[in-house]
């Protein structure tokens, strides 16, 4: 009963969002039909969806192959980003010396447009999935490190003094105070990184690749085949939002005390 009530309340608060999206799509469909806009200029939403879901039309685009390639790139790019990012941040906040060496370099590299380095990775590794994973990692890495370091350091001084007084060891302080305290920061960094990972993977595919949704976009552009480009955009967004959703769920599961934004 309580559960039902909760759902009803959710619908009551948020009903206008899907409605707005649906209204916009309907308007788009009607406008395209009314003015008979040519499909290669702006396709209607229905003809875009048909490219994905109607087997006869979808066949030539090999969606599964491209989705799989992009998914693998985003997934591994993000996994490496999350693990290395948090690990490096812990190192930085653990050792003064490392902090002095790494922080300036981190700030410096964070301020240059890293996506411009993408062709270098293609040159070094040849094209394929690996350079795209690395590009995704490169641009998504810095927000995670910076956020985690901020979180590890943003601890109440009084709390630290209290446990120091109680003779807590460095690793105890770390495990029981700094790490739990930094969780919200880590997750907000990870959320930023999900989008950046998608951007990195797609740009890598733009530059050089033989599969992936970014490749499909570029290939369809050359063939002036607009509907699959919109379909590709839709799938890219779904991949990005899916990852974002998973991270949000993890955040909720790990930090039940944290209020949702």
């Amino acid at each position: 009963m309580v559960f039902m009530k909760k759902i009803f309340r959710l619908i009551k608060v948020h009903y206008h969002k899907p409605l707005l999206v649906f209204a916009l799509l309907t308007l788009w469909q009607l406008l395209v039909m009314l003015f008979q806009v040519k499909e290669y200029i702006i396709p209607s939403p229905l003809s875009v969806l048909a490219r994905i879901f109607v087997p006869e039309m979808a066949g030539k685009y090999h969606w599964l192959k491209h989705i799989y390639a992009t998914f693998i790139e985003i997934f591994f790019g993000f996994a490496i980003t999350a693990i290395l990012g948090v690990f490096l941040a812990i190192l930085i906040s653990w050792s003064r010396l490392l902090k002095g060496i790494i922080t300036p370099l981190l700030t410096f590299f964070n301020s240059i447009p890293k996506i411009a380095m993408a062709p270098l990775f293609i040159l070094w590794f040849g094209y394929g999935i690996i350079p795209n994973i690395l590009i995704a990692f490169l641009i998504a890495f810095f927000p995670v490190v910076i956020n985690t370091v901020t979180g590890l350091n943003a601890v109440e001084e009084e709390l630290l003094e209290l446990v120091r007084y109680m003779n807590a060891r460095k690793w105890q302080v770390f495990l029981k105070i700094r790490l739990p305290n930094s969780l919200p920061y880590i997750f907000s960094g990870l959320k930023i990184s999900t989008t950046l990972c998608v951007v990195g993977a797609i740009v890598g595919e733009f530059i050089a690749s033989t599969k992936g949704l970014g490749f499909l976009l570029k290939d369809s552009q050359a063939a002036i085949d607009t509907p699959p480009m919109f379909a590709g955009l839709l799938l890219i967004s779904v991949l990005g939002l899916g990852l974002f959703g998973i991270i949000s769920l993890c955040a909720k599961a790990l930090m039940p005390w944290q209020k949702a934004e």
């Binding site: 206008h16 447009p113 040159l123 939002l241």
Partner: protein, 282 residues
Amino acid sequence: MRQSPHALAKGGIGAPEKAGMKKIADSIKTHYQTPVTIISFFILWQVSVMLFSVREFILPSPLTAILRLLVPQPNANYHWFVHIKATLIEVFLSFIVTAAVGILIAILISWSKRIRDLLLPFFVFVNSLPIIAVAPIFLLWMGYGIATNILIAFLVSFFPIVINTATGMGEVDEDLLDLVRYLKANQWQIFIKIRFPNALPYIFSGLKISSTMCVVGAIVGEFLASDKGLGYIIINSQFSLDTPAIFAALILVSLIGFLLFGLVSLIENLLMPWYDPGKEKM
């Protein structure tokens, strides 16, 4: 400066100057690490490339990359100025358009609280999508060229400014609003005297994010299709395995990014001398 005789007798005149010197010394002491580390990083890079004689097309030394910029090449002419100019125009024009349109739209949607509450979540949602992926569609519509790249740069940098500005416009002390409402201020006065000044720090932090995004957008546009610009050089040099030229172009791209970021910070300092952005970080 007014000095009391007492202070004069104690040699107080020299004191302020000494304090100034000390401040500089202190600031060198706290900030020396950054340039020192970055310079040592580049020296380390230079030395290891020379020591292990790494081939130039794999990893050039920083000096080779800089020389590529300054010394004319026998078998390839890069016309650096043409490419720098193209990218500069793209980045700066797109930034100006983004700033003007972004702030204007944010002001328009902030005019009514209901419209703001309806549209702002929508903008936040779009901002979380990988917008750069629409770049090929714009290439298809407009063909390649500077205008397309400006539009791509505009699209990727637009949302941070709108979101930040609209957020700043909304985050006004309710008590202050009540007070001026009581004083019969009209919507226009509230906007000019309260909402806009209050939003300035937010606007500038949005502008700073966007300055980086404009560079990203312009470069990715050039990656996809172009016949000039630094992104074009990077892609072209990747094909011809001319790695030093890639690094040279990377240096220039970074400089353009720093230049724009620096300009925004400078204007920020001029417009809001009371505001210290460093204070809000950590």
